[in-house]
């Protein structure tokens, strides 16, 4: 065993007082330092984890804002939105909240980057705990995000409201979250004016990621053309969803519960760019079709039960998604897309118009198809036909993808 020179067992009062002083010094210095740092983080709140109706919302933030689930769950608790948008980063970036389609309503975009279907369900539960939304617009992604398990790792279950003590629990969580080295670094940057100041927080736009933030991100990442270079090279399709039946059942249970209380649901399939559609699901077309069939079946069942629920497919090879890419046009940007899977707010606005039945269907031919048991098979046939047509018309772009 270790021996000799180590401290001998405590044997006199002087040694005892030395040890006591040593312990106290460790404890008090750690406590003091932590208290100062946590207080500073809490007051500065670099990630807006407890802000609403606050002048801090006008503070310019980095373009890539952190821990959005914290920010949005707090805002939902304070703002009590009547119309909510759910989904992944596509919805967060794509669907604007300043739409005139919801006059007089409190609209909030609760979509979060990397969110799974399970995350979206939890976000709905959370906001409905304080105020049941009247309208839910829900963007669905095929692939790994269509699953029950968490997709955004910052969206812990503890953020979802349940029970009567959420405000107290949330305050405790906010303090605990402030015990963070990364947050301390960002707090210090803000205090010393070193923080990136690119755009206003998402909260200033009711949860929608603004174009000014996106411009900065795209500039930093190298632009739209560079983003499509990756798609053109891509050969391996992305994987199937983990468990379609269980996730569809989750949606079924969720919609049933909220429909009973009169909530209106508008689901839509995300209009990622046609090349991404090809690249991601090139060999999975049958699985993709079955996924759509399962969703349609769920929607039809709910509709028969009296629920105001619709499903629209904006994906595929339509007038929006087939927009020519920078490699073909020679332009640096695209009209409808930031990059291969994220569309601009203008597209989002048209999606909202279509979902709420207020769009000019004739003018916007072939963007957004309402799906039901009666139309699904024809839609899938059309989908495949337009896919073939797109490949024929774009041999250069699709060369590596479909070979």
């Amino acid at each position: 065993m270790l021996n000799s020179k180590e401290l001998a067992p405590m044997n006199n009062s002087s040694e005892k007082s030395n040890f006591t002083r040593y312990f106290l010094t460790i404890g008090l210095s750690a406590l003091l330092l932590l208290t100062v740092i946590v207080t500073l983080n809490y007051v500065v709140d670099p990630y807006f984890i407890h802000q609403w109706d606050s002048p801090l919302l006008l503070r310019l933030s980095p373009a890539q804002q952190k821990i959005m689930p914290w920010t949005k769950t707090y805002a939902a608790y304070r703002y009590l939105p009547e119309v909510v948008f759910l989904g992944s980063s596509r919805t967060e970036i794509g669907l604007p909240t300043d739409s005139h389609l919801f006059p007089g309503k409190r609209v909030f975009n609760l979509a979060i980057s990397g969110a799974s279907t399970g995350d979206a369900v939890n976000m709905l539960k959370h906001t409905a705990f304080f105020h049941r939304p009247e309208i839910v617009v829900w963007g669905l992604d095929y692939g790994w995000q269509f699953r029950e398990k968490t997709g955004n790792t910052d969206f812990g279950k503890e953020l979802v409201a349940e029970g009567p003590y959420y405000p107290i629990r949330r305050t405790f969580l906010n303090i605990k979250r402030s015990v963070s080295m990364a947050m301390t670094g960002d707090t210090i940057k803000i205090l010393f004016g070193e923080s990136e100041q690119s755009c206003k927080s998402l909260l200033a736009y009711y949860g929608h990621k603004s174009s000014e933030c996106l411009e900065v991100i795209m500039r930093n990442e190298g632009g739209t053309e560079k983003a499509f270079e990756e798609v053109l090279k891509k050969k391996e399709p992305l994987g199937n969803p983990e468990d379609v039946p269980a996730t569809v059942q989750l949606l079924d249970r969720t919609t049933e519960e909220y429909c009973r209380n009169g909530t209106v649901f508008r689901f839509y399939l995300q209009p990622i760019h046609a090349l991404s559609e090809l690249s991601y699901w090139n060999t999975l077309t049958e699985d993709l079709d079955n996924w759509k069939r399962a969703l349609v079946q769920m929607i039809d069942t709910r509709r028969k039960g009296g629920c105001d629920i619709r499903l629209y497919d904006f994906s595929g090879f339509n007038s929006i998604t087939s927009e020519e890419i920078p490699q073909a046009t020679g332009k640096a940007t695209m009209q409808h897309y930031w990059e291969q899977s994220h569309y601009r707010s203008e597209v989002g606005f048209r999606i909202l118009e279509e979902l709420l039945g207020r769009g000019n269907k004739v003018a916007e031919n072939a963007f957004g198809v309402a799906l039901s048991g009666a139309t699904i098979e024809q839609h899938l046939l059309n989908f495949r036909q337009s896919r073939r047509q797109y490949i024929t018309e774009h041999p250069k772009e699709t060369l590596n993808i479909v070979q």
Binding site: L2, P9, L33, S113, M181
Partner: protein, 512 residues
Amino acid sequence: MQGWLCDTQTSILPWKGYKKSRLANVGASMVFNSYSFIVFFLPVTLFGFYFFSRKSRQWAAVWLVMASLFFYGSWDYRFIPILLTSIFINYSVCKRILSATPTSGRWWLTASITFNLSLLGFFKYVNFFIVTLNDVSSGNIPTLNIILPIGISFFTFTQISFLIDAYHGKIKELNFTHYLLFASYFPYIVAGPILHHQEMLPQFSDPAHYQVKANNFVIGISIFVFGLGKKLLIADNLASVINPLFAAGDPHFFQAWLGMLAYTLQLYFDFSGYSDMAIGVSRLMGFRIPINFNSPYKATSVSDFWQRWHISLSRFLRNYLYIPLGGNRQGQLQRYRNLILTMLLGGLWHGAHWTFVIWGGLHGLYLCVQHGWQYSMRNKYRQPTQLSNIINRIITFIAVMIAWCFFRAPDVASAFKVLAGMVGNNGFSLVTEIDALGSIMLLIGAFVAFYMPNTNELFLFTGKDHEVKLTSPSIVTVKWSPNVPWGLAIGCIFALCILSIERTSDFIYAQF
């Protein structure tokens, strides 16, 4: 769904941490560097231990066993039956060995070692053999869906050494509770050090170790915080330097060297940080577990390195593999064979992957070259000078760093890509984008590893019973004592660690 704007939560890095072995549910586990351990488990365990110690030593030991099983089960409750089966069978066999004749004792020993290696082999190596067999024979045998129980290599080796010593008559006393505690003791079970019964069982039997002693608390907390700091403040921050440097796949010369330097330091601070925490936690309960590191990057030869790095494993391999194989007693050629064999198996112990085998083989080769050189120069021995020591340290460090390439890489091809970068095959572009905090930690880490006294020296361990050399050159001479300045320093390190817990990663050695 991919796209730049979408935070997919999944890394695209070719080397995204350690996935060579499959670990279960690591995220929800109770590790030393977690709030649940520091705020809940440790205080409750300590309180219970000293509470029961006042009533009965047996109860206190049982309490520690329960706490250890809870700790182990927090990784995955399915691991507990595996651990207990291993312990019960080994204990029963040990009793047989102790009461057996030499012949039947040998039979029991063989059977028990076969059992232990089979258990280890099934969980850790069976898929490796299936894949290798498929590769060699172009077969298509399906791999098994096996979850690797955490720490299986550690508790298996700990018990094998016990059985061998029982056969050799080195076990005097066999108390079931103490054996259970010895094999399941939570400070070591996840990532070592590999315990030796001669160090632990006498302590479990000694009433003096069940008394509250302030100096145990003072030293235990200080060492624990030091370990926590090594892991959270240095090792974890170095990851931000390493990952981007290797994201390209074909790193340039400077990228490769900087990345490997960062990894070499990260591995040391990660593993020695864990060992310090284990030593500190155990010391809080009055029990002393063996040191595992002794400034390994100050080593002046590869054999010196192995006396300083993962000391408990080196000791096991030497006592229970290298020496039984014949050691250096049968001539130079046999010695080289034994060295290579020992290091190959030592490499394989780390995981079922060819990269580990190559890593072990490289170290075996290094040792052969070193001993061959020393043998050829045996008649020209000169006292090492300061300059020769510096040159030896540099050569040893570079050799060790090159071998770490294989240790870290997900496959052999990736390791060769890095090595190609290190010899300049991929060009010589300067590294322009390095994380600022990571770079600072790289400098601090290098300074601490090369020039500062290590934890053992700082806390006045003499190491008499650990068969380790504790003198290592440090340009900074500093000794710890329980005074206010040290209290302030430890308190601040602890506060910074608490701030860093939210983004910590798993211990690298927990996979072994």
